[in-house]
Every structure is written in structure tokens, then in C-alpha cells.
Amino acid sequence: MPKINRMKILCGLLVLIMCAGIILVLLVPVFHADEMKSYYQDFIHHDILNTAHIVDRNGQDIYNGDYAESKLTRLATFHLIGDDYDSIPTSVLAELYANTSEGNLFQGYQSQSEEIRLTIDLDLQEAAYEALVDGGYAGTVFVADYQTGEILCMVSTPSVDVKETSENIQEGAYLNKALQTYAPGSTFKAISVACLLEKGIDPDDLGSYYCDGKDGHISCTQRHGRVNLKQALYKSCNCAISYYVEKYLTADDLDQFVRSLGILDADLIAGTTINEGTIDSSDDLAWTADGQSKTLMSPVGLASFYAALANDGVYQQFSLIQGQQTTADALISQSTVDYLKEALTTGMRVWYRSPIDCRSFGKTGTAELDSGKSHAWFACCLDDEEAPSYVIVTMLEKAGSSSKAMNLAADLINDHILTKEASS
């Protein structure tokens, strides 16, 4: 066979091999599409971890391609930022990954290294964390601006140091307690009273109630004597509140009202899904009115109601990232707002003896558990022209007396929030 014919055959073979090769190359991604997609998701995840730049409202680095050098910062922001394993589904990193598009047929994932500016004040966050740890508490501190909805502090203990994997992890460390639901205790009484007022009940028509410490299966920690509705609220009289609610409301009334407020919803923080609260007054309307029974609410949910109180009845949706689009909902009428604010402000002055160094209103709560222990709650709003417009909720798991939650919040407000405001 002439040499040239051999070359022609050779070239023909090369063309065939090339065509077969192209087909095989294109078959590989077809056969392994699922595996490749799974690996791609991992690579994207790593890229997000490597390129994310998260700062607080003042530009302080919280995360910049890696976790902060400071252990305190890592611990204080663990539930906000999350870790490499998406242990905190509601964290910023996890949300970043969940909201990332993998691209389409024409083009893959678009890597971005934009700065994410949180609404968090890192100094306040770290101070709140230290306060919880110094007190030996497992709980949460939630601080937000009730006019703008910006969250300034959302800390939870116990926490996890993502860089110290050898340390023992305490029970509940991976839960962001601000987003978990608990029985709200007496902090719920404000909501029960709001329901009465929104139903059209004139508090002046209610008269007074005499509390001797026990009414049926409802009991108080002390005898409150003769109280009106306002006094019943700020003195936290279980018997009076449950009496009024049982007399003028049905279980459905209370349940529907609470649900209509939206404070049990999962979208209280823009861009994040939190645990939904529950309410079912059908079994025991009386105790439900006092914040016990089957009612479960998150500290964020409670904060949303108190924030609305401070904001003329309008709940401005909370946000964690600056510039996020939020919504505003009118929850309760101005008259109800005025009544409740007056009651709770009086309570802060008279009952709690002004623990906070500025005009404020708030309520404590002790949510009793079947085990005999109690969660300690405190919810308040700063209502002073000289003070920032903040709502603060503290919840200490199984801490017992609600005064612990109140004292912790008061110290934080007096030593950090008001001091910073004064210095600025």
C-alpha cells in the first residue's frame, strides 16, 4: 500500500478516535450529573466561606474570609454568623448560602465578595454575651430599634467557639434561643390586656378585682388586694388578669387576636425564618391569659409586640442586615397603646423601682415549667428622648426569678446603651 494511503487511513483513524473522544467527554457529565452538582454545591459553600465579609453596623469585622481573631467575638456572634457546617440554619452564612443561585445552563454561580453590613452593634453584642456568661445563664438577650426594626444585639448562650473544636459543646449550644419558643410567662399579660381593649372593652367599666392570692386553679405569688386592670397588669396579678379575660373573652377571641398580631409568625426577622409560636387557649383560657399553659413564643416574637407598643402600635419588621427591605404592620390601636404604656411605665417606676436610668416601660415574667424550674423573662422599651429607641428582651432558661432577667437587662442598658448614647 502506498505510503500516502497509509497516511490517509491513519488520519481517518485519528478522526474516528477524536469523534469517539468527544462523545465520551460529553457523556461523563451526563452520567455523573448528580454527583457533580453535589460537589459544586460544596465548592460554592467553600467559596462563600472564603469570600464573605461581614461587619457590624460600625464597620467592625465580624467575619472576613475567616472567623474573628478574638475568641469573645467568635463566641458572641456564633449564632449570628454560623459555622462551616451550617449548624445554625438561621445564621448569616447559612442564609447567604441558601440564597445563592447555582446559576443556570449557560453560566454557573457568580461569586461575589461584597461587604455584608449587619445592624448588630458588636460592642453591645459582646457585652451582652459577657453578662450572660458572668451570670452563669443559659439564655438570650435581644435588642432592637423599634422605630427602624434594626437588631442591635441577638446573643445566645451557651455558645460555640468555631476555632476550638476540641472544647466540649454544652447542651443547647447550637440553638439560637432568641428564635426558639418558650412559655412567655407574665410578659404575656400585656397581650391579654391588649386583646381585652381591642375587643372594645372599656377598662373603666371593668371595675376592680380583689386578689387574695388564689382564684380557682389560678394562684398568685402574693395577695395583691384590690386591683384594677392597670394595676393587675403591672403588679402581675394572675388571678385578676385571668378573671377579666375569662369574663370578657372566649378562647377563640384570645387565640385569634394573638395570631392576628403576627407575633407567632416565622417571618418576624426579614430574610430569616424563625420558630413559629403557638397558642391554644381551649384547654385553659385562664392560665393562657397569664402566659402559661400551651402558649409558646420566641423572645423575638415578644419583642415585636413590645416594640409595637413603643412605636404607636406599629410593628416595624426586624432586620439583621442593613438595607434589607422590611414591612410595617399596625398591630394595635393608639388607645390600647396609650393604656398599656401608661400601665407598664407606672409598673417600672412603682413596682420595679426604676431599675433603668431613663424613662422606660416593661414587664417581667416567670414561666413555670413542669420540672418546677422557671424561665426568667424581661421585656422593656426605652421611651425617653435622651435614650435610643430600643426594645430589649432577656430570657434566662431555668433561672428562676424574673428579677434576674430584669437586672441583667438593666445593667446592660445602664452600663452600655445609655453610657454610649451619652458619650455620643
Binding site: P2, M7, G21, L24, L27, H32, M36, L105
Partner: protein, 550 residues
């Protein structure tokens, strides 16, 4: 994405236009029209030389027993504008238009050129547009005017050979320069990822310069009359011996001085520059393996050099632990025998030995063994391994690079590329061994398929181009094509897990300066024609002479 779409469109149009023109040229009669009683018209594919003799490997075959196995060779001499007949029995050359061979009268006439197309310059325009758009995109990405330099070299190179070539159709040159645009990108890649950009830019200039320089040098070298006798040996014989000597020197230096990288002793560092001596050995072996036209395959001296140096090169590849080099050398060796040897037995023995070598290779090289094991995985069927199952199974070990390459090329790159997210950022050899995955990631899988299609076009273009070459150059072209093709198959196949990874780079695409010498030379060999533009000016006069002969 828009830029990638533009590049895809330009490349598609280039491939279509070039394929159409090559198809139109297939009947282009360039070569001798030989009459032998009855008209026997050669199709011109035999090139500028036509061999005559009793051996079936000759272009014109004679059955008469008095005719020698290799009786003679008729050659066009474009520079001398003459037809020469070389009588291989007595070694004499004379200008003639006919001979009596085996009692038959054989006449030689002139080539005809009936090829006309208005589309001749279309591949040039499209190819230049592709290079220009690539350059503009790189400038936009980097903001540095200096990056345009290598692209300018490519544009000038194509323009120059459009003028020089007789057919004004620099297809192989265009293909090489299109591939070199990706070479520039691959070389600049570390700089684009935060490395020393200036150093990468210098490498790009040097690499492109070397590719173009050696391709031109190869063409100049082939312009010499390599079959001219100097004493008893031809000029080519001397070059073969020189190449063999250089192989010995380079291999000894390599073994003595090389650093070990990833199991292979394939790199030498001289004056701070790393390069692979084995790349030089490839092109030198190519020279040794091409037997001069008038030599019989099997002559003692030619055979000793052929088989001796080949065996030495295989041993060298084994010692330095480069399994990819061993495979490439083996392919060139086998094809050199198949193309040039008329003895069936020898051809079969060569193929058999090669198969045996491939089978025993894993036991000789632990690196090759582990790679083959990794590629196979635990699959019972070879089909699953051919489609990447082994790599996915061994993701954390053998398959780490390949899986990243596949995800980068298809999932991340999509159809039109993704320059925003780099899956290959921290992967070893992303811009050399895995360069096709990098291209697919940055430009899309459409571009990947088009580049592979471009290589099919290269094969067809080389086959067309041999018409304008002498026999020796034809063999050189075929073996160069085989070497380039083998490298591409090993590189692309390994990257996408069709075959085990061998660490072979992609010619004219992978970053690296060492390969530019060998592959630049090979592209120059493939693109060379022995016919210049001046030749065609006299074609009309020659046709008149042809009429007189007939």
C-alpha cells in the same frame, strides 16, 4: 458571557468556512499526472514526489520482475522549476519528462491547478477576528496594554503566511494561533489569580515567541534539500545522527540533574528557569524515526538507529518515570513503522510489542500503577471507568483533580463560561494538565467542543497539506500530527477521566515554555509546504510545456 458567545460564533464560522474550502480543494490536482500506456492520473495526494517500483508502497506500482523494488522517484523542484527523475538503481538524477520502466513507457507531466474559490481569505478573516476579540477581552480584563503584544504576534504571523503560502490559505497556521490565544490565557492565569502578573506576561511573550519562532525555523529547515547526497549519505542521514547524539546528551543531563516532581524526574532548573528536557527528546526522536525516501526500511544502518534509539528513549522515559512520555514515544514509534515499513511481519511485531509494553507498564512504574488503579476504581466494567466512575469513587485521592476539572468545565462553566467563580483556583496544574477544563470553565463547554472539533479540522488540513510536500516531509508531518494528537488525547482524556491521568500537556494550549519548542516545531512541520507563491506564477507557462509533452 457576550464575549464568549462572540468567540463561539467566530470559531463555528471559521470551522465551517475552512471545512468547506478543504472540501472544495479535495479535487485540486496538485502533483504529477503520470501516463503509462493507459492514462493513470494520480490524484496529486502523493505530493511533490512520486515513487515508482515493484514494492506496493510505491505510488506507481510495477509488476514486472525486472523493475527494482524501489526503481526511482520523480520530483517537482519548485525552486528550479523542473521535473527530476532519480534513478535509485544508479543514484543518478536527471531532468526528464519520461522514462522506460519495465518495458513500459512512463511520461511525467505538470500539475494543474483548477482550484478557485472566492472564500480563500475567509478563514484568515475569521481567525484574525477571533484573535483580536480574545486580545480585546484580555485587555479589558487586565487593563494592561502590554497583554496585547502576544496577540499582535499571532495576527502578524497569520498575515505573513497568508502572503507566503501559494494558496493563501494558512489553515494550520490559523489553527495553531487560535490555540495559542488560549495558551496566552493559560499562561496569564496565575497572574489573574493574584500571582505575579508581570512574570506571567513575560512568560506569555516568551512562550508565544518560541512557538512562532520554532515553527518558522522548522519550515526554513524543511526548505533545504534534505535528500541531497553528501558523499554516500544524504543530508537527512546526518541530521538523524545528530538528533540521536542530542537525545543521548539531553537524556543523560536529565537523569543527572533532574528534580523530582510528583513522582517523575522530568524537570531541570537552569538559571532559575524550569524546563522539561523530554519535550526536546520527542521532536528529536521524530527526526530519527523518519527514514530518507530512497532508503529501504530494513537497511542495517537505518534500522540500528531506528530501533536502537527508540529502545533507548523508552528506557529513558521509564527511568525518569514519565508514563505520558512513554506512551507518546510508543505511539510515534509504532506509527513510524506502520507508515514506512512494507513488511507486514515487522509491523505486526511492532504493534504486538507496544501492546505488551502497555500491559506491563503498571508493573514497571508505581506511579502508573496507582493512577491506573485509581482510574479503574472498583468498577467491574471498563465502560464505567471510561466514563469517569473511578475518579468519582476516589475523589479524595486519585480523582481529586479530575472531579474538580469536570465540575469546573461543565457545572460551573455551563455552556457559555463563568469567569466569576474559579473551581480550579487551588488545583495543581490547572493551567497545564487540566487546561481544557480551565478553558471550558472560562469560556463554556461549547468552546470546549469547538476546540476539539478544531483538532479534527487540523487532521483534515494536514492531509490536504501533504500534497504540497516531499515524501520525507510527508512522513514528518504525519508523525508530528500523531505526536500532537497523542498529546491531546492523553491530556483531554486524563482531564475528563476517560483515561488515567498522565500529566501530558496540551500542545499550543497548556502553559509552559518547554513544550513550545517541540510543539512549535511540529506545527511548523505540519504547516510547511514546499511550494512557494513564485511557483504558481509560472504555472501557466508550465501548462503550455505540458501540452507540448502530450
Amino acid at each position: 458571557m457576550i464575549v464568549n458567545l462572540c468567540l463561539d460564533i467566530l470559531l463555528v464560522l471559521f470551522i465551517i468556512a475552512t471545512a468547506y474550502i478543504l472540501f472544495q480543494k479535495r479535487n485540486w490536482r496538485f502533483g504529477l499526472v503520470v501516463k503509462n500506456g493507459e492514462t493513470i492520473v494520480q490524484d496529486g495526494m502523493q505530493g511533490l514526489a512520486t515513487t515508482l517500483g515493484r514494492l506496493k508502497t510505491n505510488d506507481v506500482h510495477f509488476k514486472e520482475i525486472t523493475v527494482a523494488r524501489k526503481q526511482g522517484m520523480v520530483t517537482y523542484r519548485p525552486k528550479k522549476k523542473s521535473i527530476e527523475y532519480l534513478n535509485l538503481k544508479n543514484g543518478r538524477t536527471q531532468e526528464t519528462t519520461g522514462e522506460v520502466i519495465g518495458g513500459e513507457e512512463v511520461t511525467f507531466s505538470l500539475p494543474t491547478n483548477d482550484f478557485e474559490t472566492c472564500l480563500t481569505y475567509l478563514p484568515l478573516l475569521l481567525g484574525e477576528a477571533f484573535i483580536a476579540v480574545s486580545g480585546a477581552a484580555m485587555y479589558r480584563l487586565t487593563g494592561q496594554l502590554a497583554v496585547l503584544g502576544p496577540y499582535l504576534f499571532l495576527l502578524i504571523y497569520n498575515l505573513a503566511f497568508t502572503l507566503i503560502r501559494s494558496d493563501h490559505l494558512p489553515v494550520i497556521e490559523e489553527i495553531m494561533t487560535i490555540l495559542l490565544t488560549f495558551y496566552i490565557e493559560a499562561t496569564l492565569y496565575p497572574g489573574l489569580n493574584g500571582g505575579d502578573f508581570q512574570s506571567c506576561l513575560v512568560s506569555a511573550y516568551v512562550g508565544v515567541g518560541l512557538y512562532l519562532f520554532f515553527s518558522v525555523l522548522a519550515r526554513l529547515f524543511l526548505s533545504l534539500n534534505l535528500n541531497r547526497f553528501l558523499g554516500k549519505q544524504t543530508l537527512w542521514d546526518y541530521f538523524r545522527k545528530l538528533a540521536a547524539l542530542l537525545i543521548l546528551i539531553i537524556s543523560i543531563l536529565n537523569i543527572a540533574l533532574a528534580d523530582e516532581i510528583m513522582g517523575a524526574y522530568n524537570w531541570i532548573t537552569l538559571f532559575g528557569i524550569q524546563f522539561q528536557p523530554s519535550e526536546m527528546v520527542k521532536i528529536l526522536l521524530l527526526v530519527v524515526l523518519v527514514i530518507p525516501d530512497q532508503r529501504l526500511f530494513g537497511e542495517r544502518k537505518s534500522s540500528f538507529l531506528f530501533f536502537g534509539i527508540s529502545a533507548y528513549c523508552f528506557l529513558y522515559a521509564l527511568i525518569i518515570g514519565d508514563s505520558g512520555l512513554l506512551v507518546q514515544l510508543g505511539v510515534i514509534f509504532v506509527l513510524a513503522i506502520l507508515i514506512q515499513c512494507s513488511r507486514l511481519l515487522l509491523s505486526l511485531v511492532a504493534i504486538g510489542l507496544s501492546v505488551v509494553a502497555v500491559l506491563i507498564l503498571p508493573s514497571l512504574s508505581s506511579t502508573a500503577f496507582s493512577r491506573i488503579q485509581g482510574w479503574l476504581g472498583s468498577n467491574a466494567s471498563i465502560w464505567k471507568s471510561l466514563t469517569g466512575a473511578g475518579s468519582f469513587e476516589n475523589f479524595t485521592t486519585y480523582g481529586y483533580q479530575s472531579v474538580h476539572a469536570l465540575v469546573a468545565a461543565f457545572t460551573n462553566g455551563g455552556l457559555l463560561g463563568n469567569q466569576s467563580f474559579d473551581v480550579l483556583k487551588n488545583i495543581t496544574a490547572a493551567n497545564s494538565d487540566l487546561v481544557m477544563a480551565l478553558i471550558s470553565q472560562r469560556h463554556g463547554s461549547i468552546m470546549l467542543v469547538l476546540l476539539l472539533g478544531l483538532l479534527i479540522l487540523l487532521i483534515l488540513a494536514v492531509m490536504q497539506n501533504v500534497r504540497q510536500q516531499f515524501k520525507l516531509n510527508q512522513t514528518l508531518s504525519a508523525l508530528s500530527l500523531a505526536a500532537v494528537f497523542c498529546a491531546i488525547v492523553l491530556n483531554v482524556g486524563g482531564t475528563f477521566s476517560i483515561i488515567p491521568l498522565t500529566g501530558v500537556v496540551n500542545p499550543a494550549v497548556s502553559a509552559g515554555i518547554s513544550a513550545s519548542i517541540s510543539y512549535g516545531t511540529m506545527f511548523g512541520i505540519m504547516a510547511h509546504t514546499s511550494v512557494s507563491k513564485a511557483y504558481w506564477k509560472d504555472i501557466q507557462k508550465w501548462e503550455e510545456v505540458s501540452d507540448e509533452i502530450y
